[in-house]
Assembly symmetry: C2
Homo-oligomer: 167 residues x 2
């Protein structure tokens, strides 16, 4: 990780909202920023999620889901007028006992440089500040090791996950 040119703290908050933080960048040409409050272009978000293999969902439903999420984290490639979204994760939960992580993605072009790990650290730190005790997620087979390396416990005390689909 190379520390790229740093953004002034006031500019950072002006563009990316309270609690935004610069992310160590793998490329000194890129200034990367984590944000909890910068709003998303939903088409850009769904395109990003598609690059990770998620299937496209109706924008109207995604908007409602985001509105009702406990926390949304964006990783932005900084540009003063037009920042690009290159990473994302969101949580649902009660904000105190439980939170559950969904839709974790880093754009494939930016993968392999530890950005996913930093995104998760930023997200967990935000949840910790809220006072959340326990965070859960459902990991695809391909990313189970990614989470285990970061200290996530797989199926503690024999817990298994179960899914029910409306359709």
């Amino acid at each position: 990780m190379i520390s790229s040119s740093s953004l002034a703290a006031d500019l950072l908050e002006e563009i990316y909202g309270e609690g935004a933080r610069q992310c160590p960048s793998p490329n000194e040409q890129l200034t990367l920023v984590f944000s909890k409050y910068k709003s998303f272009d939903l088409v850009e978000l769904e395109q990003l999620l598609e690059t990770a293999g998620w299937s496209r969902r109706p924008v109207r439903r995604v908007r409602r889901a985001l509105d009702n999420s406990l926390l949304k984290v964006g990783l932005w490639c900084h540009h003063s007028r037009c920042p690009r979204l290159i990473g994302f994760a969101r949580c649902t939960g009660d904000g105190i006992l439980e939170a559950t992580v969904w839709d974790v993605v880093i754009h494939p072009v930016y993968q392999g440089s530890g950005l996913g790990k930093q995104l998760m650290n930023y997200l967990l730190e935000s949840l910790r500040k809220m006072g959340v005790e326990s965070v859960t997620l459902f990991a695809d087979p391909g990313v189970i090791e990614f989470y285990q390396r970061q200290g996530w416990e797989l199926e503690p005390r024999g817990h298994r996950c179960a899914f029910w689909y409306a359709n």
Copy 2:
């Protein structure tokens, strides 16, 4: 299941709130009711959860967690002045794409009569009415079969659950 004395629809909603529904009872002496809106005595709720082996949690934190939950379902043993809470479950979620079920309990005295299954049916029907697509939960080893028998899919497509604890 015996159909116990039925409550008039207006009385049912007056005491237990909109969408309340009488539950087929295993004992004709007992009138049982599902409710989404009747408020909980948090000490009574925590005592109920303790009977299922959950450890006691600070009431202040439980109150916040309930306030931020998407859905809370109570199973009540009807009494016109003082209904008793004998079952409970709650969900977090975004109300449209995802919901996650927590704290499912039936008082041990009332177990073994299919009330848990009926509680889950009432909960899932409520989520379906909201338009939620997918519901998830983390099952203890002792209840995995209970959920499988009701059509829950265990770890679809190799999903595994992972937990992270703040402390």
